[in-house]
Every structure is written in structure tokens, then in C-alpha cells.
Symmetry: C5
């Protein structure tokens, strides 16, 4: 099966990619035809078929053509064109419109988000990708490998697509968990510096972004698995509950991370203060060790006529010994009390 070379033309007359990745008709779980968008109505004449179209940042004319074929609502198409939506589920007469956010971890450490919009009808499913690097081709192959499931129709394809996207979140959450662990080691292993605070902040920002992608899915899945959406066949609903479980679990992991991060930031501040106290103590200890001989030297630098020690033979070495002794005593004392 030609996964990567779609049967439908990817460019139009002007040589610009149209954004159509794949357009195929399925019957009883089997791909029965690859066809251009304009032939959809013919394919739909066969009462037992459904159409699965994959688009990637399509040109507006292509999307408008799809709209005409399936009679999609204007507002949904405009959403699919502009692509700055939060994840949601909209129910139009005879069709579902689902918006999902895709996420990927950048090599440098940050997160990048894309969007996938899905139109689902009785006999069609159209997915529109925006800014998502990972193609859905593997997904289509996997679906076609289980015809008994694929024969459940567009509702099942919607599940497979959502499952595919939600599965991409888990490694990201785990990567963020690892980042927190690295931060914990920095903070409590006394290797923190000014960058640590910045890293905590950036991790928080990433967590909040991810949360915004994940948490609306709880409601989306909830509606797909519970309510009377006739487009989702009865026996497909447990599958959406499965996604629901994943989403709720990831949501919890993210919240967990956020709360730990808040605590880590406060712990960091405490430890900075502790280390400040320790520096103050060390500073004080050394200041004392230097100040005491300075004071003694000052005393014997006085110009009194009658200072008998000055005339002792061993006055100088004695005083030097006293100075050293005082320093040593202070040093040992400070060390014992943990100041040095």
C-alpha cells in the first residue's frame, strides 16, 4: 500500500501544493478507491462507502470544495482556515467539528503546538492539519490494518485520530517530569544558580501551555462518550472513554507538576536565603580572624613612653604568638560551630 505517495494529485496547475494528502473511499473497512476531491459525490452514490480525506494546510479553494461536497457550516470552515482555536467539539446538524492541538518537543527544549481540525459526518471524515510536523500517514496505515475496526466507520477513525494525537502528549509530559527532576537535583544538590530560577519559570510556562491543549479534551471526550451523538456508534463509545482516561491522567500529572514546581520555587528561595546566611556567617568569621591581630598590632604601635612589653627581649615573638594563637582559636571555634 503506497503510504507516502498519495493517489490524489498534491499540486494543481499552478504547481503550488494544494494540501490534499490523501482522499480515499472505504467500504467494509477496506480502501476501495483513491479519488480526487471533485469525484466525492460519485463515491458517495455507493450507499455503503465512506470517504476519508487528509489535508495539510490546504489552500482555501480546496477547503471550500470540501465544504460544498459535504455541506459543512461556514463558521467551522472559517475556524479551519484561521487555525487559532482551543480544543473543542461542535455539533452541527449532521456533522461534528472537532478541534485538537498537537504538541511536540523542540530539540532546544521548548514546546511547539499545531492544530488538527476534524469534520465528521455520517459517511465522511476530513482532517485538516496546521503546523503539525508529524503526518497522519502511519495512522491511516494502522487503521487499514484492522478492517474489522475500520468498518465501524468515521466515528472509529475519529477515535483513532484522537488517540494518535493524545498519545503524543505522554512523552512530552514525561520529558517535563524529567526536567523537574533535574531541577530538583540542582536545587537540593546545592548546585543552583540564577539560571535555576529561569528554568523553573520556563518549565511552568510550558506546563501551562500543555495544560491548555490537554484540559479542554476532558470535556470533548466526555461529550463523545456520554451524550447522544448519533454519529458515534454505540460500540465505539468505550474507545472514547479510553482516551478520556488518558487525558484525565495527563491532566493530573500536569497539575501535579505545577504544584511541585510552585513548591520547588519556594524551596529554592529558602535555600538561597540559607546560603546567604551561611555566607554572612563565613564573612563574619573571617572578619573576626583578621580584625583581632590588627587590633593587637594597633596596641603595640602606640607611642607611649612607658610600654614595658616593647622592651622585652621576646616581646615581639610573644605578641606574634599571641596573635597566631588568637587566630587559631577563633578558626577552630568557628569551624566547630559550623560558621566556617
Amino acid at each position: 500500500m503506497p503510504d507516502v505517495s498519495p493517489a490524489t494529485p498534491d499540486v494543481r496547475d499552478d504547481g503550488v501544493p494544494t494540501g490534499v494528502i490523501n482522499c480515499a473511499a472505504y467500504s467494509a473497512g477496506q480502501r476501495v478507491a483513491d479519488l480526487p476531491i471533485c469525484d466525492i459525490h460519485e463515491a458517495l452514490a455507493h450507499g455503503d462507502r465512506f470517504i476519508w480525506i487528509g489535508l495539510n494546510e490546504p489552500r482555501e479553494e480546496i477547503l471550500r470544495e470540501v465544504q460544498r461536497e459535504f455541506d459543512l457550516h461556514d463558521l467551522a470552515i472559517e475556524d479551519a482556515l484561521s487555525a487559532h482555536q482551543r480544543p473543542k467539539l461542535e455539533l452541527y446538524e449532521g456533522s461534528l467539528f472537532v478541534v485538537l492541538r498537537t504538541a511536540q518537543l523542540l530539540p532546544g527544549g521548548g514546546l511547539e503546538f499545531g492544530e488538527t481540525h476534524v469534520f465528521v459526518g455520517e459517511r465522511y471524515i476530513v482532517s485538516v492539519r496546521h503546523g503539525s510536523l508529524k503526518s497522519h500517514v502511519g495512522l491511516r496505515a494502522r487503521c487499514e490494518a484492522t478492517p474489522q475496526l475500520l468498518s465501524k466507520g468515521p466515528g472509529f477513525v475519529l477515535y483513532a485520530l484522537m488517540d494518535f494525537i493524545v498519545d503524543q502528549y505522554l512523552p512530552i509530559v514525561e520529558a517535563l517530569e524529567e526536567q523537574l527532576e533535574a531541577l530538583e537535583e540542582e536545587i537540593f544538590g546545592e548546585r543552583f544558580d540564577r539560571q535555576t530560577t529561569g528554568r523553573i519559570y520556563r518549565l511552568k510556562r510550558d506546563l501551562l501551555s500543555l495544560k491548555r491543549a490537554v484540559s479542554p479534551l476532558v470535556e470533548v471526550c466526555n461529550r463523545l462518550m456520554r451524550h447522544d451523538i448519533s454519529l458515534i456508534p454505540e460500540d465505539t463509545r468505550p474507545y472514547f472513554r479510553d482516551i478520556y482516561d488518558h487525558v484525565v491522567r495527563m491532566n493530573e500529572m500536569i497539575d501535579n507538576l505545577r504544584e511541585l514546581l510552585t513548591t520547588a520555587l519556594e524551596a529554592n528561595l529558602s535555600l538561597i536565603s540559607v546560603s546567604q546566611t551561611e555566607h554572612t556567617k563565613r564573612l563574619a568569621a573571617w572578619a573576626a580572624i583578621i580584625a583581632v591581630p590588627t587590633m593587637i598590632a594597633g596596641v603595640y604601635g602606640m607611642n607611649f613612653d612607658a610600654m614595658p612589653e616593647l622592651h622585652w627581649d621576646y616581646g615581639y615573638p610573644l605578641v606574634m604568638a599571641i596573635m597566631l594563637g588568637a587566630c587559631a582559636a577563633l578558626f577552630i571555634g568557628f569551624r566547630r560551630s559550623g560558621w566556617l
Copy 2:
């Protein structure tokens, strides 16, 4: 179409502006007549027409005239006069009363809020602006450009108006996001000072004000798109869902910003403490570098008779070399351990 010069007189006999910007009758999506307020009842005699009136800080007598024409509720009119309302939707018998807040970014950086009140009935819509600099004239032109939509009646005009106002929030939220990014750079780029804290605070205050304008709209849209408000035609409801999505998304963005800001404030405090620790370390290092030669000099300033070093030929240069050496050793040591 004369957008900016309304057909209805803007001033009365006494030369004071009445606040009437526009008053027109529409039939099948077309503007069929501009008319003075007092002729409304005649226009309404044509069963297929609806009236769209635009007022800007109107004189009370004008508002009372409108009230009489459309039989509006006293409390709603009083709200429209005093203009210190939070966004809300009120359902009176035969009419809707909607309060919206308009927002604009001042050149100096703060936010300024105005209010727009809308009365919607079966065959009329009246908008009353307060303190909003941006006129609705462009909106009317845009509506008149799509007669097939405008023919849906006052419900659609309400949508267009709300969409117009909600669209003004997005650039503001984005401007606040940029302010946060600038603050992040200040904080983590070690260029923060006392103004930084003030800027964080002011951004928080702006976010809270904006939140108060945006968040009640979630409930307003929710009621407009869901409940059995017969004034909103069935096929206009998806449009309010569109506004709902925008509002929810902006709400999320604002909450996101607030949480990041809280973290930024704490991170800022941590970094201030870190920088304090660093200053303490540097202070301690320099103190040590100066104190050591002072101590040595003190020793050789003592007046003991028997201090052989004093009589060495090269005693002085030797001691000076020792001093310099001690200073250099300390300097290098502190630098290596990151104190200097």
C-alpha cells in the same frame, strides 16, 4: 453610503448633540430609510421592517423617547443612563438588554474601558455607547454589505456588535502578553530594578480589569446560544457559539498570564535574593583583600625594640611583596570560586 454623516440630525434646537448617531429602517437586509426617532412608529407599521438605532452618550430625553417607542423597562433605561454596569444579559418580556464593556489600550500603556448597552426586540435594536472611542459606523457598513445575513434581523445585528467588541480584546491580550515577555527578559536577563516590580504589579492590575470585562461574557454567550431566547433565531445561535469560543479562549489566555505573572513575581524575588548573595560575597572578598595587607602593615608598625625584620636591608620591599602576593592570591582564589 454616507458612513460618517448620519441622516438623522445629531443636534437639537439648543445646539447640543443629542447623541443620535444613526437611526435607520431595514427590510430584507437592505437599509430602506433613515428616519428621526420620532418617526419610528410609522416605520414599524411596515410589518417586514426592523429599526437599528445607534446612540453615543445620548441625552436622557432621547433615551426616554426611545423607551416610549419600544416600551423598554425602566430599570434597563436607568442602567443605560448611569453606565456603571458589569457585562450582563437581561431578559425582559419581549426584549433583551445586553451590557458589554469595550476596552482600549492607552498610548501610555494602561487600559481604558467604555460600555455599550444594547436593547434588542423583535423588530428593533438600539445600541448605546459610553466612553468608547471606536465608533460602530464601520460595523454598520459591514453588516449592510452582507444583506443575506442582515436579513436575519436584530438577533444577527446583536451578534455582529458583540463580535465587533470582542474582537477588540484580542490585540489587547496580545499586547499584555508582549508586556509579560518584556518583563521576562528584564527579570531573567538580569536587568531588573525596582521599576520591574512596579511593572509586574501594573500588568496584574490591567489583567484583572480585563478579566472583569471578558469573563462575564462566557455566561452571556452561553445563554444566547443555548437557552430558549426566542429573539435569537435558531440559525443565528452558532454565531454566538463562535463568540463564546473567542471569549473562553481569551479568558484562558488571561488566566494563563495571571498565573505566569505570579510566578514571575516570585522568580523576581528569588533573583533579587540571589543577587544580594552575590553582592555579599563580592563585598566579603574585597574586604578580605584590603584587610590582609592592613593587618600586616599593622604588625610592622609595632614599636618593639627587637624586631629584626625592621632592620633588614630588604625588609620593606619583602613585606610589600608579601602583601601584594597575599592580595593576588586572595584575588585569584575568590575569582576561581566565583565570588568575584
Copy 3:
């Protein structure tokens, strides 16, 4: 109309004030009779009348008399006697019992709270004031000035009373907003001191007290405007929605203030830390400026035989010039780097 001199006797035989401020019968919105409590049953014999009684910290016997006349519930009367209730609405068979808290700003800056309890029946309304300085006499006058509204009966009087009390909150909230603004100026205008923290704390305490008076009213108004409370006539409900709006808005303002205050407290801590850092820097700079000449002087106070500089003619002025130069260089350097 004799506003301040009630027709009913204010003192009993023993000369102690009874607490009865006013007791009058109304018919069709007009006051038709002032009467002593004991004549209420006669007045109620006229089927079209209702009684409005105003009490101020009444003696128990008076309250018991009122209870007998209108058959009020024991628990409500006990509440009205003890007066340590939170705002609430209780529905007894045939009567409503409403508890409101009145608030006033003390000249010294704090808040003082009183309570007003209201019993509403088909044909009577009894208000009982506790600790509220502001009399309701003006309210009665205002109600009597609009007979067409007053003719709606006790339900409307309840609205007027609640509106009267809720209107007293707004200037208080605004005064607290001004206090916050003054605090902001102190904090960010670098004029904060230890009193600032105390003022923030006290403002927080006042806000929490006010919140406890205002927020239960949301639920009270909600029940009055929505539920099937037959004592509130259909056409009076929009008025309670008006109060509801005010209460919700004040609630929001208070929450806003609380959140800003929390941020202000944290910002204050940051700025204290910043100012600490600055003091540390300044201290370090001056320490260095003094320590350097001290060290140089120490060197030339050494007693080596061979210190050629000591014997130079211009050795002393030269060294003094070096000292001054070093100090000046340090001073300029510190000033440039912002330490001084």
C-alpha cells in the same frame, strides 16, 4: 409628612425607649394611618391595607407583641433579638425573614457593621435595626413619594430597603479602593516603611469583613428574583435582579482588591529586598573608600629602617594625593556602576 417625629409613642410608661420608630398602615401606596402596635389587628381588618413597622433595637416585649400580631416563627424572633447573624433569607409558611448587614466607615478608617432584620408577610413588613447609625426614615419618605410603586406592597418595600442598604456599600468599597491606591503610591513611590505592611494587613481584614456582609446577598437576591416566592409579586422581581447586579459587581470589586492586595504585599517584599540590596551595595562602597587610605596609611606607619619614601621631601603630600586619588577613583567608579 412628619418624618422624624413618629406618631407611635417611642417610650413606654417606664420612660425607656421601646424601639418603635414608626408604625403605619398603607393603602394603595398612601399612608392612611399611624397606629400603635396594639392596634394592628384593627388595621388589618381593612382587606386592602398593609402595615409597615420600623423598629430600632426594640425591647423584647415589643418584638414579642409584633410576633403575636403577625404569628412569626420563634426562631426568627430569637435571631432578631440576638443579632449575630450572617445575611440570609428564610422562608417560613406565609412569611419571609431576611437578615442584612449594614456597614459604615468609621472616621478613623475601620469598618463597623450593624444588622437589619426584616419580616415580610402578605400584608406587613417589619424592619428591626441593630447597631446601624443610619435611620431608615429617609427611605420611608422616598417610598411614600412614589405611591404607584409603594402600592405594590410589602415586597416592594423589601426591595427599597435592600437597595437602600446595598447602596451604602458602594462608597465603602470605593474608599477601600482609594486606600489601595494610596498604598500603591507608598510602595512603588519608595516611601514604604514598616507601617505600610500593617496598613496592607488592615485593608485585607476590612475587605474580608465586607466580603462576609456582601457575598451572601448574591444567594439571597438570587432566590428573591428567581424562585417561586409568592410574597414577591411578579413585577417586583426585576428590581431584585437590579440589586443582584449591584451585589455581584461589588463582590467582584472586593475580590479584585483582595487579589491586588496579595500582589501588593508580595511586591512590597520584593522592593524591601531590593532596597536591602542597595543598602548593602552602598555600605560596601563606603567601606572600600575608607579602607583603602587606611591600608596605605598603615603601610607608611611601618617602622622599617629602610623605607626611602619616608625620607623624600614630598613623600607625605604625595602619599596624601595618592590616597585622595584612590578615594576619588573609587567614588566615581561606584557612582557609575550605580552602587552610590
Copy 4:
């Protein structure tokens, strides 16, 4: 009426207290018989009687006997034996099981909690106390003093018991409020020390414990006053609403205290920082005052041949005067700028 000497035997054959405090039958609000547990079935033969049993840490056999008499559920009895429950209401067929927590202030300042479990049936009420020092004897006497209320049956006794227990919370909440006020004075009256923080923490802990005893009662009362619990007669429900009001109010007071305490802890931290800044300033000021004469003295301790001042007749007093003058100037300057 023999309040403290119960008619039923308190010890069994082995001399160990059984835990039965009181066991009496009531008819029409009057105590008609004191009887041993084993005779309960006889008393219940009179159709118009109900039994009220008071137990205090009873032996298991006693509780099992009671269980057999009234056919109580195994799980409820096990709860009553183990006594580590949170406040709750459980509805079994034909009986209610209510768990309440009693609280008392220890002389040393902490809180101690006990538990009271209540079984209520159509014709019986059994209370089981654990670790509560305050006996219910006064309660029984008070109930028996109002036969017209007591005749309402076990539902009313349940109210009286809950009211009795809830009334014990108020003085505790007030004592905690006083503790907070004392803390406020410490913090803002600049008399705080390390103990202050510990006291804030312990108050927080007490508040959280109290909250855990009080807040579940909101739900318990709510169910008792609203739902169709046939064991609670219609005319007894307003009494539970009264308890509900008390509980909600105390809940609010506790939340209020918690929020103030959080603010107090932060304010305390701010003031500690302020006082640290002030100490730093004072330290710096005195350091300068001492360092300046030291430096001047160092200068005139130099051994240059040509230092004309050294040979002036009044050189010494002049320099001493300069030193003192410099110190005085510094002292006055620092005092004026608030550093000393």
C-alpha cells in the same frame, strides 16, 4: 429530677463501669420511667413512648445489647465502637446514624476533640460519647424543662444534641480570633520574635483541625433540613436550619481567620526583612563613625620625615577635634536620614 445520679446501674457485676449514663422512657414530653437497657422492649410496648439512652465510652457488650434492641446496622455499631470518624449522616432503613465531633480548648492552648455518635429511630435516640469531657446531663435537663418541644420526639432530641455540641464551637472560634489579635499586636507592634512564627503555625493547625470538625456539618444539616428524612418531623426542620446557619457562620469565621493568618505570616516575613534592612543600616552607620577616625589616626601614624602637622603645637588637639567633628557630623547625618 435526679440529674447526675442515673437510675440505671452504671456498673455491672465485675465493677467496671458499663458506660450507661442514662436510659429513660418519655411520653408526651415527660420522663415516665428510668429503666435498664434490658427492659427497653417492654417500654416500647407502649405505643406512645420513646427511649432516650445516653452512653459514655460504653463496653462493647452494652452497645451490642442496644444494637439487638433497636436492630441497628453492624457498620454503624462498628463505627460507634472504633470512634475515628469524620462528622457524617448515614441513613439506614428505619434509622439515622449521625457522627459529631466535640471540641474543647485545653488550658495550655491547644484543642482536643471527642466524638459523639447518635442513633435515631422512630421511637428511640441513643447517644454515644467518646473523649468528650462535657456530659450531656445538662442537655437532658433542659429538654425535660420544655415538654411541649420534647414531645416532638427523637428528632427534636437530635436537634437539641447537635445544637448543644455546635454551641461549644463558638467560644473556641472566638478564642482563636483572640489569639490572632494577640499575634497581630506582636507582629505590627514590633515585638515579634522567632516564637511568633511558631505561634502562627500552631494557630493554623488548630484552625484546620476545627475546620475538619465543623465543615462536614454543613452537609449534615443540609440533609436534615431539606431532604425527605421521615424521621425528622416537618415542624422540627426549621430548627436544623438554625444549626445550619450557625455552622455556616462558624465555617466562614474559620476561613476568614485562615486567610488573615496567611496574610499575617507574609506580613511577618516582610517586617522581618524590614527590620533586617534597618539593622544593616545601623551597622553601616556605626561602622562609618568608627572607621573615619581610625583612618585619620592612621594617617598621622605614618613615619614620614616631613609631616609639618606633627610638629605644630596644637596639631594633636586639632586632629582630635577634627576626628570628633567628623564623628559628630556623621552621627547627625545618619540620624537625620533615619539610619540611626
Copy 5:
């Protein structure tokens, strides 16, 4: 009864453990047969029997066999195989699927979590353990010891299993409470150091993990005790309410600990700051005590010709006495004001 040596073979032909711990049929609360998995259908031919299977990290083939026997849903089996689920209850046609988390305290102090998955049907219960060290053998023995309860069927076994697992949480929560108490003593007993902050953080992390295991059980128990799950017999539901109470109580204890921990972290920061202030004061005090004699010595080290004190017979001892006196005075002063 052979508790630890199961009748069913634990290893297959290849010698690898299959994971089957126990597989037995029960009738009227009595174990009537131990049987291999493959004979289940025979046992079910007896209409009055139910099967209880215990598995511990079973091989996939075993689980698939069980699936075939009881017709379990694919998704539930996949969950049971992968074992990274949050606690939940899923209702499939004719069967319940419950996921529980087991927890145990590691000797080193951390927490370790396992999972137990349970399939419950009309006539079977299958438990699948993952990573839980504590076997369920004791549980089976305890159930078999109360045949009258066990005869209630699989629903009761589910209760016993959940009770068994939930009972393991309590000692853990109590251990964490003890950890907090130890931390409190460290913090307020002034024995805190940098490790303290780390310990607070780790306790928080453990609490959050435990919370994630416990809190979803509230919803699980709620559904088991309330909703119309026909697999749970009517008279078994109060038992689930008992578990519900335990779970809610532990949830509260955990939340309590979390809030106290947050306060402890802040209190810790306050005390660190206090101790910093105290170190600063002590440092300042000693600096002054050393600086004063140094200054005096400097004065008498000046080389003025006319310094009469230098020539006094007792000049030197006098000055030394002054120095000592000044030091002593400072020392006493600082000690009195609490700086030393």
C-alpha cells in the same frame, strides 16, 4: 486450608510462572473447588457458583484465556496488561472493571505504588495485581472465614478487596503525619538546616502521589454505593459507603497535611530570615567591640610631637583600661539588647 500453595498450577510447561495465584469456585460462601483456568466453564455450569481468580502480573496468554471465559472487553484487558492507569470504575455490559492503586512505604522513606485491577461479573471476580508486594492471600482466608458474608457473591468480594487496599493507606498517611511532626520540631526547635527544605519538598511530593491514588476513589465508591449498578447487591452498598467514609477521611487528612506543609515551608523561610537578622546583629556587635580599641590604639599611634598622654607614667595602662572598659561596656550593652 492451603493458603499459600494454590491448587492451580503456577507454572506452565516452559517453567515460567503463569501468574495464577488462585482460582476457586464458591457456593453459598464455601470454597467448593480449586480448578485450573481452562475448567471455568464447567464450574459455571452449576448455577449457584461463582469463581474467584487471583492473578499476579500474569502472562498475556493467561489474561486472554480469562477474557475468553468471561467475555471481557478488549480495552479493559489492555488496561490490565499495561498497568499505568489511574483509579477508576468502568461499567461494561454485564461486567465492572475497577482499577485501584496500592501503596507501600519503602524502608528508606519514599512511597511505592502498585496497581490492582478487578473484573467483576454476575458470577466471577478476577483480581490482577501489578507491583504490589502484599499478597491477597490473607484477604481470601478472611473472606472464607465469614461464609454468610461471602455468600453475597462477587460484589462482596469486591468490597473486601477495596477495604483491604484502602486500609493500607491509613498507616502511610499516619507515617507522613509523623514526618511532618518531625519537621515541625526541626523548624521550630531551631534545628533546621538546608536538608529541612529538601525534606519538606519530598514530603509534599509523597503527599501529592498519595493523593492521586486516594482521591479518585471518592468517585469510584460514590458510584458503587449510589447508582444502579445491578452487580452490587442492595445489601452490600452500605459496605461501600463505609469505604467511601474512609477514603473521604484520608483525603481530608492529606489535604490538611498539604496545607500545613505549605505553611511550614513559609514559616521556615521566616525563621531563616530571623536567624539571618540575628547573625547580622551578632556580627555587628563583635565588629564594634573590636573596632573601638583599634581606633583608640590608632590615636595613640600617631606621631605628634605634643601628645602629653604618651609621656604620662600610667598613660599606657590607663588607655588599656579605657579600651577594656569600652569593650566591656559594649559587650554588656549588646547582651542586654539581645544582640549577643
